[in-house]
Symmetry: C2
Subunit: 164 residues, 2 copies
């Protein structure tokens, strides 16, 4: 369970789509523009997300991606896991034949935290995050075309949190 920009971009993009796909598939180009993530990179990430059936794709004009499963069945761990290939800080790669004091030591040392992190991310669903976003933004999932273009102010307090 690794956690880098890659996984974060994937989660951000999935949330962006989840907030809008009630009106039909969302194109990566629009996600790219809104979230300021390079289109090529998004395409790579969504190739992986599609392969594990987290999203459905539609080609052609008006096409794009939509979330393939109910929002509260998709966990953050699912998303991160799909794009941020798993990370192994042990020497034995978690194999059953891991023996000998040194290797087992490494193995044991890491598994506890690893499991905790994974369980935590697996307990948070996309649906929950999206719901929280809706409340924060006070924005309904409207089509992009009729979206209000006026800039909005952010409420402060986020600096400390963002700095983490």
């Amino acid at each position: 369970m690794r956690l880098t920009t890659k996984g974060r971009f994937a989660v951000t993009a999935m949330m962006d789509i989840a907030l809008r796909d009630a009106a039909g598939p969302v194109s990566l180009a629009s996600v790219s523009e809104r979230q300021k993530i390079s289109l090529s990179y998004l395409e790579q990430l969504f190739g992986k997300l599609r392969r594990v059936n987290l999203v459905d794709s539609m080609r052609g004009p008006g096409g794009g991606y939509s979330i393939a499963q109910p929002l509260n069945q998709v966990t953050i761990a699912d998303i991160v896991h799909a794009v941020d290939e798993r990370l192994d800080a042990t020497q034995c790669s978690g194999r059953e034949d891991c023996q000998g004091e040194h290797r087992c030591m490494t193995h044991e040392l890491w598994t506890t935290l690893n499991a905790k992190m994974f369980e935590y991310l697996a307990s948070v669903t996309l649906g929950e995050l999206v719901e929280q976003q809706r409340q924060k933004l006070a924005v309904q999932p409207v089509p992009v075309a009729i979206r209000d273009k006026r800039p909005r102010r952010r409420n402060s307090r986020e600096k400390a949190v963002a700095a983490a």
Copy 2:
């Protein structure tokens, strides 16, 4: 709050030291051998850990590192934060002058999960992990010199957890 092998190696090494430094400072060379992490890399990581006063160093023969603070005051977030320089998935870098719909959207989208992850890692202390390790390993913190060299069997069940 980024989480990669770098942070994990740091946590693993800190746990290794915490388990043994009752008998005096622990050398990085021995940590390197036990945990199979390159000595050079450990030196880089511990340079950072020392600069934020998470560890004390003693030079000369018999020297090495020891944990500088009470084990249950050191959180995993402290360790990861010291070596895995913080990661920013927003465009505005969390600045106060973040305005305009697009940037704020990215900003808002990420802060929630970011904060949750950080809070979680900040709630886990090195002391707790070490205690769990002690119980799992059933090993007392004895000096390396009189350590039992016989290989030990690992209990199974860890595969699924390690695979995450």
